[in-house]
């Protein structure tokens, strides 16, 4: 039996997850219907977004510049345009994260000496990133990209760490594989 507060908490978490899933689907539809640039299905050729552009997308400098014009039309256009760019970035980041984890899962299947702690750490990092991406989708659509620059920067850093961890894992397992092949 679980108490009322626990049930309430579980219910809230479940509701939030369902909301995130629904918003993610809606955001993806919005991007594909309104974005000018195709979302590039060929993930392998995806050039990662340089960090300085993440800062630019979520920066308030351009918004301040547009505000100075005192034109409501321009402000409206800016909000719409920058929101879409931010959504494209979130979509792209979450795809890159999923691709990294897919590659990692493939690599772990062929590896014989996995480190439990490292695996747990990677899965936790992945879960955190996916949650942040979901939160970013909600926040961008409700508050605008300028309010979530810190969170976007954190997601960028964390996704780079995840990519690096997977790269390190690949290097180590490939090294061991060659070592075994050489010994045999």
């Amino acid at each position: 039996m679980i108490g009322n507060p626990t049930a309430l908490l579980l219910g809230s978490v479940l509701f939030l997850l369902l909301l995130l899933l629904a918003r993610r689907g809606a955001a993806a539809r919005e991007i594909s219907s309104r974005s000018d640039v195709p979302l590039f299905d060929d993930e392998a050729s995806l050039d990662p977004c340089p960090p300085e552009f993440v800062t630019r997308i979520f920066s308030s400098i351009d918004w301040d510049f547009v505000t100075c014009t005192k034109s409501r039309e321009l402000q409206k256009l800016f909000r719409r345009e920058r929101k879409l760019v931010a959504l494209v970035w979130v979509h792209q980041t979450s795809r890159a994260i999923r691709r990294i984890m897919r590659e990692h899962t493939e690599a772990t299947r062929q590896s014989h000496d996995l480190h439990f702690a490292t695996e747990i750490k990677l899965v936790a990092m992945y879960a955190e990133l996916m949650l942040i991406c979901g939160m970013l989708l909600l926040a961008i659509q409700s508050a605008g990209p300028q309010r979530v620059g810190g969170l976007a920067g954190y997601a960028q850093t964390l996704s780079q760490r995840l990519a690096q961890a997977q790269q390190d894992f690949k290097v180590v397992t490939t090294g061991r594989h060659f070592h075994r092949a050489g010994s045999a």
Binding site: S35, D36, V37, P38, L39, F40, S45, L46, D47, P48, C49, P50, E52, F53, R56, I57, I61, D62, F65, V66, T69, S71, E73, L74, L77, F78, E81, R82, L84, V85, V88, W89, Q92
Partner: protein, 151 residues
């Protein structure tokens, strides 16, 4: 050895391109438009007769491709204010009427073809969005400068 053999002509062609062609163009936006125009619409390969004559055609094509991508990222990193300045410079240096260019750019968005092929989609989207905004801001400024019409 092979790598050096291949890289040196590309580097030399790139330096030559910067020195002879790109340095004579007034602003980065005009450089991007120029470099985009050297790319074949059907094949995506870059051609420049003068550069290909001085270097190997492959090296010339590669140098153009590198320069195109570099100028694209440089321009995409500009703030909106800097981009409006770039647009202003581009329009001032053009031999056509700025109002006509503005109308055409807003209608047909020809700057879309100036995006290099292999660039990050979010950066490409940021570039398109910023150009669209810069055009709207420039138009707004022009309208503000015009004296109000009396009936």
């Amino acid at each position: 050895m092979t790598v050096t053999f291949k890289l040196v002509p590309v580097q030399a062609a790139y330096d030559d391109l910067l020195k002879r062609s790109l340095s004579k163009i007034s602003c980065d936006l005009a450089r991007l438009i120029y470099l985009g125009s050297t790319r074949d619409y059907n094949t995506g390969t870059y051609h420049h007769d003068g550069l290909a004559a001085r270097f190997q055609p492959d090296a010339a094509g590669k140098a153009l491709e590198i320069a195109h991508r570099q100028i694209f990222y440089q321009l995409s990193a500009y703030s909106l204010e800097q981009l409006v300045d770039q647009l202003q410079m581009y329009l001032e240096c053009s031999h056509e009427s700025p109002a006509d260019i503005l109308r055409l750019w807003q209608k047909l968005e020809p700057y879309r073809v100036a995006i290099p092929v292999e660039v990050n989609p979010a950066v490409a989207r940021l570039f398109l969005s910023n150009i669209r905004l810069a055009l709207a801001i420039w138009r707004f400024r022009q309208e503000q400068e015009q004296p109000p019409k009396h009936p």
